[in-house]
Structure formats: structure tokens, C-alpha cells
Amino acid sequence: MRAAALWLVALVIFGVVASGCIGGEEAKTSQAEVQLTGDFTKDVVEIGKVLEQNGVKEVKFSAWGSGDPNSVMRVYGIVEAARRINKIWADNGINVKIVVTETHYVASFQDAYKEYLSKQPLGQAGDFFVNSYAFLPTLADEGYILDITDYAKAYQSVIDDFYPSLIEASKYNGKLYGLPQDTEARPLYIRKDVAQKIGFDLNGLDEKVKNGEFTWSDVYYWAKKAKDEGAAEWGLIHRKGSAHPDLIQFIFAFGGKLYDPNTGKLVVDVPAVYKWLYVEWKFARDGLLPGDIMSWDWAKQIHPTVVEGRTLFDIGGTWYWTEWQTKQYYAKEGTPRGLKPEEVRDWFCYTLFPAGEKGKEPVTLSQPFVWMINSKAGQLNPKYDELKDIYHKLAFLMLIKASDPDINAIHSVISAHLPVRKDAAKLIKDEKWLNGLKALNLDLSDEVKSNIGDIVQATVNPINAQFLADVSYMLEYTHLAPAHPKYPALADIFKEAVDKVLRGEMTPEEAVKYIVQKVQADPELAQNVEIQGEIPKDWKFPQG
């Protein structure tokens, strides 16, 4: 009996001590709250201290990205950010390290999105995900990415350095879900050699396009002349695949819209869509644009036709500029090779996407890529449940670091995307900095240097920097496709309609009816899309 009483007392004492310890732990966890102050070094150090106190020596993160081969900084920016934060910790005697365990990079951004969508609920998706802002609404709506609105408040000065339209593109329902990583414009490229053969004076063309004096009727006129006089095989080449985002520029160029902010619904602007389809139809019927271009092969047909001067016009993206230099599309002399920077400069003129008709304005279109944070970021790390907020804040700080002007500027120069920050835009005009990049004599990790070395050699030169500087003004004319979860489905229907008019299977009128029918056939899509306006009756193209 006495022994039993002693055991009971011992148990009670143990219980009290244990609860004290647990209580102590709780106190420790409450200390784990770190308020972001906007002082980057201070915030990183605070977070490092909390991690260290909790026995965390290594924080693992993975980065998923996608895009053309020159855009690998979309993942190596994260690697570099980790190194810079590790350095801060080391300098402050904090024994914690970030390790980027995986840099998953694939060519197709749509495939990357599909992979993220299926793996995020299983907890197998990357901690950082860079992809088109077009997917952000769905990811945010499903709770798959982190709302960083509150974190960003402390870093307002950094946020203010981004171009405002790009920050808007990173929001959904008024909340911030990512930071812009890059953007671009979609110029109309013109072959100077073909233009010269037909007497097409390109001097001052930029201004005429800006003023809306040079419209798509003029594009038609010169394309036809180039074809008729045998100066080129085609008048115009454009991209294939989804009508988003390249071809929907026509809707904006004809003064149309795709989204009604008052109702929050997508819009099929019938007059603008009709005019767009009519232009495509007319070009294809007159043999100026291949009727089967939507099934052309990128590497064997589209790019070679453009770089070999077999077309007068080409609708492309700014990234073509460096892609033409690093990929072997040019085979006119036999062995395929990339273009030299001088050749790209001497052969191509570039302007905004002209106005659809007189009285309208020129446009361009951007599809910003956005750095997003997985809502489960850091989940594979120790004490995730207790330190979730710390890991998420650390992930946010990594995005802030990965957005450093120099990292952003490197990405812009080597991939011909436009910088997203004003400070980065200044940097790409700095010759000294460019020379440092060319020699890879910058404060970058060896891993990053070895992964971008070849691309840097092929692309960093004054010609490419000048190109970026020249096209930057286009952002003033930029439009963004609506960030709406149903937009990809609508863009897909547009693509089908374009293909049918190009092939001559449908007239523009029939194609507009087809779009309306397709939208109305799906009750969910129909609820989210407004059909506005009528097919214009006496509209003519080309106009005099």
C-alpha cells in the first residue's frame, strides 16, 4: 500500500514537471512569432535565430519552373536567393542553411501547371512555383498557393519598385499571391531585306504605328505586295497553338475587350472577334498566311520561315530575339545554325502590334510569369506544424531576394524578357554591369554560373541589351488577358475558331456563331461569359 502511494506521488510529481516542460515548449513556440519589419537582414536573422533555437539546421526547399531554355533563372534565381540568405546567416553566426533540393524545370508551362495541380494536394509539388499569371486565379481559388498580402506590407518599398500593372496581375480578389518574375511584349517583326525589295520604307514606321496611322490594312497591303512581287513566300507568319496570348491581341487592336470588371465576367466582344477572324480569313484566303499554320512545326517550319526571310511580317515575342541566336533554326546555307546578334539586328525591325483599323490604338500583350509560394511550403522540414509561419515567411523573404534587381536583370538580358522592376531596367542599360555579366564576374554562386554560362556567352552583348531597351516602351501599351479561372477554356474555343477560318472550313460569320454556340453549350462557361454586340454589317477589310 505504501509502495503504491509512493508510486502515485512520484507519478504526480512527474506529471507536474512534464507539464511544466510542455508549458515551456509552448512558451518557446509563442516566441517563434517573427514580425516582418521590412529590414531584410534583420528579418532573416530573426528567422534564423528561431530556427536555430528549435534545432533546425537545414531548411529544404524545392523550386519548379518552366519555359524556354534561356529562362532557367526562373529556378536558379531561387538557388541564388538561398545562397544570399545563407551568407547573411553565416555572417551573423547563425548555424542554419537553406538547401534547394530540386530545381525542376520543364519546357511547357502548361504541362508544369498540370503537374503542380495534380501533385500539390498530395504534398509533392515544389515549394516555389513560377508560371504564367493566367493560372494564378485557379491556384489561389483552390488554396494551392500562399496569400502573401500581409507579408508584403512590410516590404512595400520593394513592391513599389515593380511595375504596378504586373503587381495587379499577381493579385486575385484583391489579395497578393505572388511576385512578378518577368514579362514581355509581343512585337510585330518585319524583315528589313524583304521590305527593301518592295520599297517599303521602314523609317519612322514606329511613330506611324504608335499614332495609329499604320493599321492592319497597311500590314495587308505590304504583305500582299511582298507576295505578289515574289519578294517572300508569305506575307505574315504567326504563332500556333492556343490563341492565348498572341492572337487575342487582335481583339484589343480592334478596340474590343475580354473582361468586364463590373460583372466579373469574361466577354466575347462580337464585333472585335469578328474583325479579328476576318483578318485571319482574308490573309489566308489570299495566300499571305498559311491556312494550316496552326499545325505547323515550330522548329522545322515556323522559326526557319522567319529567320530565313521567307516572310515579310511575323507576330512573335521579345524572347524570339535571343532564341533565334541560341537555337539552330537558320539553314539557308546548308548546316543549321543560330543567328549572329548582328544578323538579328540587321535583318529585323520591330514595332508594336498595329491598330486594327483607323481610330484605334496599337497594342501589345504581356503574360507575366509570377513567382508563387506553395501553400504547403516547407512541409518536409522539421517541426513544420509548429514553425509553419516561420517557414512561410522565410519562403516569402526568398522571393524578395530572388527579385533582387541584378537577378532580374540577368534573366532579362539572357532570355530577352522585360524586367519587372525599375531598378532592374536601369541595370540592363549599365555597360559596366553588362561586361561583368559577360565575364560572369558577378556575385553569383558557382552552381548558377555553371548553369547559365553557355547562355550568357551566346546572348550577353550590347545589341541584345539595346533591343531590350528599345522595346521597353511597349509596356505602356500592354494589355493583360483576364485573370479568370474560366479564361483558358474560352481561349481554347478562340483557337479552334481561328484554325477553322484559316483553313477555310468556316467563314468569319460562321466562326463567330461557332464560338457563341460553344460557350453556350457549357452551362458553367455560359454563366461566366457575356456575349456582347453584333457582327458589324458594312465593315470592310482592307480599308482604303
Binding site: S118, D292, D297, Q301, A489, Q517, A521
Partner: protein
């Protein structure tokens, strides 16, 4: 049935019963359940309990009625399954018979050749046909025909609707499927006592007569098996079709079967609507079950299953 017999049966059948339960019944029940939820974008946590009854079926039928291209999907499914089935079964039979009458060594090599499409990775195999049928002068077929002077302009094979698109998908899938029948029939033919063939030869029968009167009747059940198997397989196949459509080689409307429609709805780009896809999959399963049942009934499958006489 005695207890002992029941125990023996349970012992031998249980692995199969378990397999059927785990890999057929459970997914089927799950598919039916998902078809009655608003499941999308793989958000199981959020939508699995959001029960919407027959909403997805109603939406699907509404789309069937009003979508201008849905008729093409139905027609494509019928034509694709019908013609490819005939090619797979009778092509396989022809190949098996052809190799039956030649020496074993060349016959093996010949059979191996027909197995290549099945052994090649789907993407590689599809890419070969992508370049072969490409609708421009870079397409192998077009460049051959143009250099021989048969055509002056390249023909967009897969974009000529409907038969151009149908021909390409039937050709590509037919080549893959034909080897299955060939293997089954070859194996069945090898079980037939050689004496029968030798005796018929001695009596002066030609290869055609031997095939028609002796060989084909003796592999009737194998024919039935291949026919049913290939029917169900073709009804649900989509990987080659997916790539050919994705790469814009064939017209999307006339290159999409119901199975591909299900896949694209569940895993396609843009919004991934697993609830709607599950509803379409349930309808596809019903068609498959009915089709399989009718095939077996018409061809009197149960006669093969009855007890052999004399041995018991």
C-alpha cells in the same frame, strides 16, 4: 456444395476476387461517386463532400445536345472503334495464318517486326507517324508523293475531315493493336495437331482451304476472345490519339473519341473537371459493359464455358 469444396474454391478464387474488388469494383464505385460531386483541380479535401447529385450528368447531356462539335466525337468513337476492331481482329488473324504457313525462323522475325509498334514508347511511335503524315512538305508521305510527281501540293492528311483524320488515327492504332491478335492466334494455331494440316495437304487442300475449313473453326473461341478484348480496349484507349491531336496532326473534332474526351476533361489544360469527366467515364463504362455483353451473347460465349463432356 460441400463445405470442403467451398473452402477449396474460396482458397483458389480469393486472390482473383480480391483483385477484381480492389482494381475494378472500388474504382468503379469511386468514379460513380466522384461523378456526383463537384470535384475539380484535384482538390479532394474541398470537393469530395460537395455532393451535387446528377448535376454533372445533366451538364454533360446539355453539352451533348448543344455543343456543335460533340456529334463529331460520337461519330469518331463509332468509326474508330468499329474499323480498328475489324483491322485488329482480322489483320491479326491474317498475320497469324500467313506466318503459320512459312518456316519458323522467318516467321518469328516477321512477327517481331509487327510487335515493334507495341514495344516502342508511345511518344516515340507517335512522333514517327507525326512526321510521316505531317500535312506539309516536311511530312515523309507528302515528300515521297511530291517527288514521285503524284501530287503537286502537300496534302494535310489528318486535317481532311472526317475521313483523313479518321484514317490516320485508325492506321496508327491499328498497327499497334494488330500484334495482340497475331500473338493470340499464332499461339492457338500452334496448338492444332499438325496431322490435321498434313492430312489435308495430302488430300490436295490449298492453304486457303486449310485456313477456312480447319484452322479458323478450331480457333473460334480465340477469335471471340480477341474481338471482345479489343473492343473494350479500343473503347477506352486514348494515348496515341491524345498526342496526335495535341500536336495538331489530326483535326481535334474528328480525332477525339469519348475516351479522349474523358481524359481531356479530367486532365486537360485549363480547368480540370474530374466530376464532369467521371460522369462521362461512367457513361463510357456502361457502353463498354453493354457492348461486351452483347458481343458475348451474340457469339454465344457461354457455350465455351460449359463443362466438357466425358471427363467428369
Amino acid at each position: 456444395m460441400t463445405k470442403g469444396k467451398l473452402r477449396d474454391l474460396s482458397f483458389f478464387l480469393s486472390p482473383m476476387v480480391l483483385m477484381v474488388f480492389l482494381f475494378y469494383l472500388v474504382p468503379l464505385v469511386m468514379t460513380i461517386y466522384i461523378s456526383m460531386t463537384r470535384m475539380r483541380n484535384w482538390n479532394v479535401e474541398r470537393y469530395l463532400t460537395e455532393f451535387v447529385g446528377l448535376y454533372n450528368y445533366e451538364r454533360l447531356f446539355y453539352m451533348f445536345q448543344h455543343d456543335p462539335t460533340f456529334k463529331a466525337v460520337i461519330m469518331t468513337t463509332l468509326v474508330f472503334v468499329g474499323i480498328t476492331l475489324v483491322i485488329n481482329v482480322f489483320g491479326g488473324l491474317a498475320l497469324a495464318l500467313a506466318t503459320f504457313f512459312i518456316n519458323e525462323r522467318p516467321a518469328s522475325s516477321y512477327r517481331l517486326l509487327w510487335l515493334l509498334p507495341r514495344m516502342s514508347p508511345i511518344a516515340v511511335y507517335s512522333l514517327v507517324w507525326y512526321y510521316f503524315f505531317h500535312g506539309s512538305e516536311i511530312g515523309t508521305l507528302n515528300s515521297i508523293l511530291m517527288s514521285l510527281g503524284f501530287i503537286s501540293q502537300p496534302i494535310p492528311w489528318g486535317q481532311v475531315t472526317p475521313w483523313g483524320a479518321w484514317s490516320v488515327i485508325i492506321f496508327v492504332n491499328g498497327l499497334v493493336g494488330v500484334s495482340f491478335g497475331m500473338i493470340v492466334f499464332t499461339s492457338a494455331l500452334n496448338q492444332i495437331p499438325k496431322e490435321l494440316v498434313i492430312a489435308a495437304r495430302v488430300d490436295g487442300a490449298s492453304s486457303w482451304q486449310i485456313s477456312r475449313r480447319i484452322l479458323i473453326p478450331m480457333i473460334k473461341w480465340h477469335l471471340l476472345y480477341v474481338l471482345t478484348w479489343q473492343f473494350l480496349s479500343l473503347l477506352t484507349t486514348y494515348p496515341h490519339l491524345f498526342l496526335l491531336v495535341q500536336w495538331d496532326l489530326v483535326n481535334r473534332d474528328y480525332g477525339t473519341t469519348l475516351a479522349l474526351y474523358v481524359f481531356n476533361t479530367a486532365f486537360g489544360r485549363g480547368e480540370q473537371d474530374q466530376g464532369l469527366a467521371a460522369a462521362a467515364a461512367v457513361i463510357l463504362s456502361i457502353i463498354g459493359i453493354l457492348g461486351g455483353f452483347v458481343t458475348l451473347k451474340v457469339l454465344k460465349f457461354e457455350r465455351m464455358m460449359k463443362k466438357p463432356r466425358g471427363d467428369f
